[in-house]
């Protein structure tokens, strides 16, 4: 239901400029001219709405998940790119030239005034670059922070260039109603950037945290625990995540999303299980206790609070254990009567974190590269393993919480659905948005 509301609101927001242009109207033109203008209008409104789909607005992604919002952002950016690239090509056979005294509002001709077109041409070149850089981010292997900066500044430039192009070269954008509408929409888009990069850091600055401990859990996994510094801490639900900034100004873009592995019931200090994967995580050994930290959040919908299923199945791959550990700890600390089973997959036994704590639970460890003396499950978390751990009634009645590699979550979700688990009993969150 929430997904339907999300899509509907998106559709209305994206098509509003097109519908307004329709109402504003003008003398009739050929199909291809109108189609080309429509493509430009839709592409611009989609690009502006991309700003609020950028993964930092709880009100936007509430209920559908930040990961789904991010993937939606990525897919709709591709559609906007196609629309934008087609937009100028379809004006073929339209009379062109400078301003004509008999067509001052560009109802029947396309302007060739360079000052009106240059912004559109610049945006036309920038947009594919921005999308391609985002799609190829992992392959190009440049710093995450660099990418964020390029993406944010590039998107801002494209929005402003398109605003100029729409107002000065557009048939509809030149009309007063549409001009004010586009200004308002661009204002919301730019405002969303200011909110994320200015307002949130100002608010975060007043609520600093300090690193209490930093512990190596396994050769490539760490636990970072932070405590509030002069405030009561953060109100969150087990299974959620925050954007964590360690050792930088609250205005720094050097922040990364990490799941909270501690439980709210344990008090205001918060723990994160972090795997060495990227630029920041490879420098974790340089972080010292006492380092200042800033947290933005909480985000995420991986929560079992208030759910009525009789049992909770926690299925984790690698560092995907982090949010599930938070859920498990919360269930234990609050004396929750629900049954719990954990499946925890890794490549080798050296990668198993929190083993002593997990051994006290009904846990199934799975290793894809087990040592010779391994007596547990081997291979990957797949359908047959799910069948061995969960009988029919548990598949039917329990809630399943999945976090791990995308391929694992796809296989497990498909298998659970085949076995009759209702789709709304399966909660998952992805951190690889590709």
């Amino acid at each position: 239901m929430k997904q339907f509301v999300f899509i509907t609101v998106y559709l209305v927001a994206v098509t509003l400029p097109l519908i307004l242009s329709w109402i504003v109207g003008g003398p009739p033109r050929s199909f291809w001219q109108e189609f080309a203008s429509g493509l430009g209008i839709l592409a611009f409104s989609m690009i502006l709405i991309e700003f609020v789909l950028s993964g930092r607005f709880k009100s936007v992604s509430n209920g559908i998940g930040m990961d789904v919002t991010m993937r939606f952002h990525q897919f709709m950016a591709r559609t906007a790119l196609v629309f934008a690239l087609l937009h100028p090509l379809l004006y073929q056979a339209t009379p062109v030239g400078g301003q004509r005294p008999w067509d001052i509002s560009r109802q029947l001709t396309i302007t060739t005034d360079f000052s009106d077109l240059v912004s559109g041409i610049a945006a036309y070149l920038l947009l594919p670059s921005l999308v391609l850089l985002a799609i190829g981010r992992t392959q190009l292997d440049y710093k995450y922070e660099t990418w964020r900066l390029i993406h944010g500044v590039g998107a801002l430039m494209i929005a402003l260039l398109l605003l100029h192009h729409t107002i000065y070269a557009g048939r509809y954008g030149g009309q007063a109603v549409m001009m004010w509408f586009w200004l308002a929409m661009t204002g919301v888009a730019v405002g969303s950037l200011l909110y994320v990069y200015l307002l949130v850091p100002i608010l975060d600055k007043a609520r600093p945290w300090r690193v209490k401990t930093i512990t190596r859990l396994t050769p490539k996994q760490w636990e970072v625990t932070v405590v509030p510094d002069g405030h009561a801490g953060l109100s969150y639900k087990a299974g959620q995540f925050v954007w964590l900034n360690l050792g930088h100004s609250s205005f720094s873009i050097r922040e990364n999303p990490f799941s909270i592995s501690s439980a709210p019931a344990a008090g205001p200090q918060m723990s994160f299980m972090i795997k060495e994967l990227g630029d920041f995580t490879r420098t974790l050994d340089q972080i010292k206790p006492g380092t200042r930290a800033y947290l933005d959040g909480p985000y995420g919908h991986l929560c079992v609070d208030g759910r009525t299923e009789p049992g909770v199945a926690l299925i984790a791959g690698g560092v995907g254990l982090a949010p599930l550990l938070g859920i498990l700890r919360q269930l234990r600390l609050t004396g929750d009567p629900r049954a719990v089973k954990v499946i925890y997959g890794n490549r080798t036994d050296k990668q198993i974190a929190y083993r002593a704590e997990l051994d006290a639970e009904d846990v199934t460890y799975v290793l894809s590269e087990p040592p010779a003396d391994w007596c547990g499950e081997t291979g990957f978390i797949d359908g047959p393993l799910i069948d061995r751990v969960f009988p029919d009634e548990e598949c039917r009645d329990w809630i399943f919480v999945l976090c791990g590699p995308a391929i694992m979550m796809d296989i497990v979700e498909d298998h659970l659905l085949d076995r009759g688990t209702p789709a709304d009993h399966i909660l998952s969150e992805r951190f690889d948005y590709g």
């Binding site: 997904q3 097109l18 329709w22 109108e34 429509g38 559609t79 979700e413 789709a423």
Partner: protein, 35 residues
């Protein structure tokens, strides 16, 4: 139909939503251009 939708995996529902949305946008564009 509603039941089938509800029992789809998240990624299948996502893919369906994206393609439906794109189709609706193109139809609206056509309606705009043909008006």
């Amino acid at each position: 139909m509603a039941n089938r939708l509800q029992q789809m995996s998240l990624r299948k529902r996502f893919t369906l939503a994206i393609w439906t949305l794109n189709a609706v946008l193109v139809l609206l564009l056509l309606a705009f251009a043909l008006r």
